[in-house]
Point group: C2
Chain length 255, copies 2
Amino acid sequence: MTFTARTPRVAAARKLQRRRDRDQTGRFLAEGPQAVREALAAGVVLELFATAEAMSRYGDLSAHFTEVDDDALASLAETVQPQGLVAVCEQVDVPLKEALAKRPRLVAVAAEIRDPGNAGTVLRTADAAGAGAVIFAGDAVDPYNGKCVRASAGSLFHVDVVRTPLDVVTPLREAGLRVLATSGYGADDLDTLADDGVLREPTAWLFGSEAHGLPDELLEAADRRVRVPIYGGAESLNLAAAAAVCLYASARAQR
Amino acid sequence: MTFTARTPRVAAARKLQRRRDRDQTGRFLAEGPQAVREALAAGVVLELFATAEAMSRYGDLSAHFTEVDDDALASLAETVQPQGLVAVCEQVDVPLKEALAKRPRLVAVAAEIRDPGNAGTVLRTADAAGAGAVIFAGDAVDPYNGKCVRASAGSLFHVDVVRTPLDVVTPLREAGLRVLATSGYGADDLDTLADDGVLREPTAWLFGSEAHGLPDELLEAADRRVRVPIYGGAESLNLAAAAAVCLYASARAQR
C-alpha cells in the first residue's frame, strides 16, 4: 500500500517540521540518503518513508520502508531534492553529565546561536576536528531543526549532542576542560595561546551568535577570552570560519 | 526632489541586480551602511540612493545623497532590512598581472564556485587571513552578485579581486607562489605541510565548489594536493570551514 500526503502516519510525521511537535514527541525528521544512512547506523530510525523509485535505488538501506507517493514525500521534505527518503528518528541528545563523564578533550558550545545553518555547520566542523561533544546552550536553535540537521551533514549522529541552560562553564571546568570564550575583543590571541601550549590541554570552546557574540555572563565566566587574529582589512570572520580556525587550532595542538 | 521606483535613474540602477547588466555597464550595487562606507572609502561610489530617514541617520557618509522614497529603496535592495542605503558602484576587480605584480604572499583562488554566499565568505576569510588577492577563476559566480557582496562584508573593497579563466596555475607559480590545491583525497595533509615549513613560503590556495571539488586540470597542475585532516566522524568540512583552516594555517606560518 502506498501512503499519500493525507495518510495519518504521514500527516503525523509532517508535524515534526514544527519545533513544538518535535519537543513534545522527542522525534525529528532526517531527509536524503546520507542523513538516513547515518540515522540507521545510529539505530534511531522509527519509520522510513520512501518513494518507489528511492526504494529500488537505495534498497540496501532498509528492509522496512514505508512506501509513499511523490506528493507525500514532497510534503515531508524541506528541500527541493530530497532524493525520495525521509526518516522519522528518535532524538539523540544526551545529558551534559553523561557527555562529560567520557572526559572529552575537545568540546564546542553553541551559545544562543539562533541561525540553524550556522549551528549545523559548527556541529559538522566540531565533529571533523575530533570534538567529543557539542553543546547547544541557552536559547540556541533546536538541533533537530531541518536546516540544522542538513547543515550538520550527519555529524548530529557522530558526536554527543547536549542541550543545556546557559550556565555551562562550571560543569565544563569541573570535567577538566579549559574554557575558552571567542570574542573579537578578547585579550588573548589564538596564535599566542597555540605558541604557549595552552591549546594542548583539554578545551571547551564557547561560540556566540554572529550578530551578538557571546552573552556577558559566559565571557566573564570563561578562563580566557580569545580573539582570532585579523591580518587584513576584514572586521571579523563569520561564525563558521571562526569556529573552524579555533577548533582546528586545538585539534592540531592536541595531536 | 524625491525619486520613486519609476524614476529612470532608479530603474536603471535596479537593472544592476542582473548579471548581464552588471557585465555590460561595469557597475554593481552595494547596500547597507557597512558596504556603502567601504565603497565610499574605496572611491568607487557613482550614486548613493538613500531614504530621508537614512540621510539623517547616516549624514556623515556623504554630501551627495540621491533621495528616494521607501518603495524605490526597497526595489533596489535585495535584503529585507537594507537600512535605507543602496549605492551604485564601479566594479573594482583588477587584471591578474596587476595583482601578482605586487608579489602577494597569500592568494585565494575560488575555482568554479557558483554559490555566491560561499564565494563571498571565502573572500571575507581570505581578507581576514591577510591575503593580497582573491581570484574568481573559470565559471565562478560573479563577485558582484548581491549575495556575494553581502557575504564578503566589505572585503570586496580590501583585497585585489581578479576574474580569470581557469588556467591560473602557471602565472601564480611564475609570481613566486607555491600552488596548493585543496582536496579531500589529497596526498599531503595540512598539518604535515605546516610541520615541514612548507606553509611559510608564499602560497596560493585553490578552492573548488562544495559539490564538485576542484576541476581535474587544476588538481593536476598544482604543486601539491592537500587535505584538511579529519579527526572525527565527519566526511568532510564545508567550503567556508575548509578555506578558513587552510588560509589561517598559512597566515600563522607566515607571521
